[in-house]
């Protein structure tokens, strides 16, 4: 390895940071996929949940001096409330409209939220007072960021809790049933409105968590935070829009590919141009969709004649 210019340590560190970045994408994608699975809404406003979540966490922890470990769950509650408010005030009225109109509604919400956020908090980047900072752990010659370790831990916990909830709670069961067949679920007495609200609340909370995790460690809270959601698009579509498992797998895959591209591409494939790691997720997305048009775990649409 040493002759090629990329050392083993660099490779291990890259793999690790790829998993950490991927965990953040997975968190973003998971919130997105939950709303899609339960309500069939492609929620562009999820980018606002991430952005707003980062700022609310900062407001609580930095401005009001709340302990970070308390500020994070509080911010997630706030995110959940915003999600439910959105569903009740706007999205519910569009039931039965073309999917495209509903996408546009969430884009409208995205514009309003993003601009109100930057009007309230201003354009500058600021550090989240997370307890991890830029500390690193040394394992031999390999340096791992503590914030990345925490991100991976928190993401695993959130994903685990989410799957338990989905499998064993009655609301989670209702969500799965509604996602499979809304009419049949309604006929068995499942309250679709409650299911939709729960999905939006979960998405708001997960988006907030993703926003806080993205701005912890070396990251910062700023107006560009929501833009990460656009890199998470490939993550969830690679996994398949209907699949929470796919969101996690897709997130990790995209994170790893992006970090590996950043490390290896300038050396081995310089002809692809500078900064190729920024488009690598989209390139991977197109290649995977050419082979599997519904993503790795998505449900193919059945065509009957």
């Amino acid at each position: 390895m040493s002759t090629t210019g990329v050392g083993t340590e660099a490779l291990i560190e890259t793999l690790f940071s790829g998993i950490a970045v991927g965990a953040k994408y997975a968190l973003v994608a998971l919130g997105f996929v939950i709303v899609f699975k339960a309500t069939r809404v492609l929620n562009f406003a999820h980018a606002s949940f991430v952005l707003l979540g980062g700022f609310i966490t900062w407001q609580l922890a930095a401005e009001w001096g709340v302990n970070f470990y308390l500020a994070l769950p509080l911010a997630m509650v706030a995110g959940a409330l915003i999600g439910t408010a959105l569903q009740t005030a706007l999205l519910q009225r569009l039931l039965g409209e073309r999917p495209f109109s509903i996408i546009m509604m969430t884009i409208g919400v995205l514009y309003v939220f993003d601009n109100v956020t930057s009007a309230i908090w201003g354009p500058e980047d600021r550090d989240l007072p997370d307890p991890w900072g830029s500390k690193t752990v040394d394992l031999g010659s390999v340096n791992l960021a503590v914030a990345d370790l925490w991100t991976i831990g928190v993401t695993s916990a959130a994903v685990g809790a989410f799957f338990l909830f989905f499998r064993y709670s009655s609301l989670g069961l209702g969500m799965r049933a509604t996602a499979d067949d809304q009419e049949a679920a309604l006929a068995t007495g499942i309250d679709a409105r409650r299911v939709h609200l729960a999905a939006w609340a979960t998405a708001g909370a997960l988006g907030t968590l993703a926003g806080a995790m993205l701005s912890s460690g070396a990251g910062s809270v700023g107006p560009s935070l929501g833009a990460v959601a656009f890199v998470a698009f490939p993550a969830m579509i690679v996994g398949g829009l209907e699949s929470p498992v796919g969101a996690v797998v897709g997130g990790l895959l995209i994170g790893l590919i992006q970090q590996l591209t950043a490390l290896l591409q300038p050396e081995y494939a310089a002809w692809l141009g500078s900064g190729f790691d920024r488009v690598a997720p989209f390139a991977v997305m197109v290649i995977i969709l050419l082979v599997r048009p519904y993503g790795l775990f998505g449900e193919p649409e059945v065509r009957r004649i």
């Binding site: 492609l42 409209e97 996408i103 509604m105 514009y111 930057s118 141009g273 969709l289």
Partner: protein
Amino acid sequence: MTLSHAADLRTIRGPWRIAFSVVLVAVFFALPVLISDATLGTLILCGAFAIGAIGLNLLIGLTGQVSLGHAAFVAIGAYCTSYLGDGRGWPFLAYFATAIVLGLVAGAVIGPFALRLRGNYLVIVTIGLVFVSEHVLRNWESLTRPVRGTAPTRDAAVAIGPLDFGAGLDLGSALYTREQSMFWLTWALVALAAVVAHNLTRSRVGRAMQAVRDRDLAAEVIGVEPGRTKIGAFAVASAMAAAAGVIYALGLGAIDYQELSGIHGLFMSITFVAIIILGGLGTVHGSILGALLVVYGQRLIANEGAAMPILGIPVERGWMSTGELNGVLFGGLIIVFLLLEPRGLAALWARVRTWFQGWPFAY
């Protein structure tokens, strides 16, 4: 009401429409003489967006294929103007035609992706288009000049025969400015695009598009080829986007790849989609009304916004900048229209027309 086939095929029918067309033509010729060059500049931009929106409406409103990558094709036209028109000194019709052909080809190449992907998957893949085009443009330095900044378009020739729109028309007795001349050229092209799109919607091709939109399986059964129709719609929409890009570049005088691709490109694509939603999905005149509302509104706030009051406080002294106000109003407009008038300005217009036609009866 006549029921003959020939009368039905006429583009302009009925006394109301004839009168309205006469008014439109009169406004077209009189407006540049009556209003300032700055306002004309904004209206030229409105015209560029109107051409692009007419194309996108064929794709989304008529064929039902949602795309958020429209800006990538606008960039093709814009860079044709800069590279061929400004850099190489090609005549207007030559680089304009090249832009349209390149747009057509690019749309036909991207189109096949649309065959494999449906609905939401297609929306997100087309978002990838603007990010990929950002990468290409950032690395293609000889074309986009990312180091030195913007690529110029102002010196591109805009002459058709003896009429030189770029330098300002000189019609013997009268001299007109560049803005006045460009207004006439732009809105003549808008009219041309509108007629092409209008005739397309009424032809076999247009009916095939609508059949594919409503239910592509049924369309296939009755003999429409969904694949060919979708690719064709992509190609036509992209060609019109490239044409819009030429006018956009000429109107601005210089272009920047960062405004046409990446996250700003996505915002531009969203603006196009918002235009056709606010104007009216699947209608040609809706695309034009929407472009006037959105682009003129955004420019108005950008130019005059600082002096505008919110709740009695001028924006410049309040807590929100004009850019933020612009974004909030844009998003709010989309939300309000979707809740109150999902069929857009075209439906409002139809309501006004019915009221006049029915007067003095309610309906």
